[in-house]
Assembly symmetry: C2
Homo-oligomer: 186 residues x 2
DNA sequence: ATCGAATCAATACAGTTGTATCGGAAAGGT
DNA sequence: ACCTTTCCGATACAACTGTATTGATTCGAT
């Protein structure tokens, strides 16, 4: 085994470089070549890590899913009043802070191709069902129904794009969230 | 004035052909050439109607906006009970029927590029603000607040992607809508 | 020290992209 | 009938795409 290189680590680095490109210049700009440059490796190195661009794309998608859930879950503080916990969690899910905005840009880009790319759609399905299961589980703890969870998740998802694109002010979004949580916890 | 051709009509035909491509095969497949073929005209004809692909894209975006609002507004039946009217309207906004699914596919595709294309973002901003103003106006008729309108619109927007991609069943979506309208009209 | 496998940079390739150019066809005014 | 203007199909072009190939380099095991 000569020239040992940690392939898995490199795959991650390349995927992260690709995500950086998607965040700043969109999915179309994340070509194999550009990604190689952004990752600081050669085109050949990328090609050995990923057989095709599609494979690279899907791996990057699983990466950002993990990144997003990890970031959001750090806000979960056990023992906090359920309503405050929900408010904190939802705030982190929205594109309000800069990491949140970056993730939202990537999420929107992938959503755009999901309609035509079944593999991307599948990956998003997993993420969506996980999020829904999480919401259902946590709302159940104080009497919330699955329908409540569906509503809350849809509300958060529906606020993402207008917030990111500046069609909706953060204040208006926060107001909507608070009103919804108020009616939910009443 | 020789060889008189209705440029405006042709622009519309070409834009519609482009939208058909976006619906079926995504934005990336809607190249200038493919659009020309789909519209049944030559590449040169497209080039005279639109100076650049971007111009064609933006025109197509305004077209689908008009198409969507026209379709949704036909469901408005004056004199109906407000809650039923809202339910009918919202059902038409979601990707449940086939025209609704087609529009949702296009909407998702454009959303994906909006983050990197300010002109697309602006066009979507107009559509979003119109929809919000409409919701605010109509909810105000029976005591609904602007925040209620923001919540309802976000809920609808948030149900669109999971419905289109099959992550959420139409029944679950309908349930969520009904629960939300119930709490809104109580 | 040498061999062989793993790695990768460089290059090649065929295809597609948006856009520019240009010659001729079509048609209304004269 | 003739010109002039409008139109448009064909072609050209440079840039870029994803992927394949290949020859050198590197390093661990023998």
């Amino acid at each position: 085994m000569p020239r040992s290189v940690d392939l898995h680590a490199r795959r991650r680095e390349i995927a992260d470089a690709m995500l950086r490109l998607v965040e700043t210049r969109g999915l179309a700009a994340a070509t194999v070549r550009e990604t190689a440059v952004a990752a600081g490796v050669s085109l050949g190195a990328v090609q050995r890590c990923f057989a095709t661009r599609e494979e690279m794309l899907l791996f990057a998608l699983t990466r950002i899913n993990e990144r997003f859930t990890a970031r959001v879950l750090t806000t979960v503080t056990p023992g906090a009043p359920p309503r405050d916990a929900a408010r904190t969690l939802i705030t982190e899910m929205l594109p309000l802070s800069e990491p949140g905005r970056a993730d939202a840009r990537v999420a929107l880009a992938f959503l755009g191709v999901a309609a035509e790319d079944p593999q991307v759609a599948d990956a998003l399905a997993v993420a969506h069902r996980n999020a829904r299961a999480f919401f259902i589980r946590h709302l159940a703890e104080f009497g919330g129904t699955p329908v409540d969870a569906t509503r809350l998740l849809a509300l958060v998802d529906g606020l993402r794009a207008p917030l990111l694109l500046g069609h909706l002010s953060p204040a208006d979004a926060q107001e909507a969230i608070d009103a919804h949580l108020h009616s939910l916890f009443a």
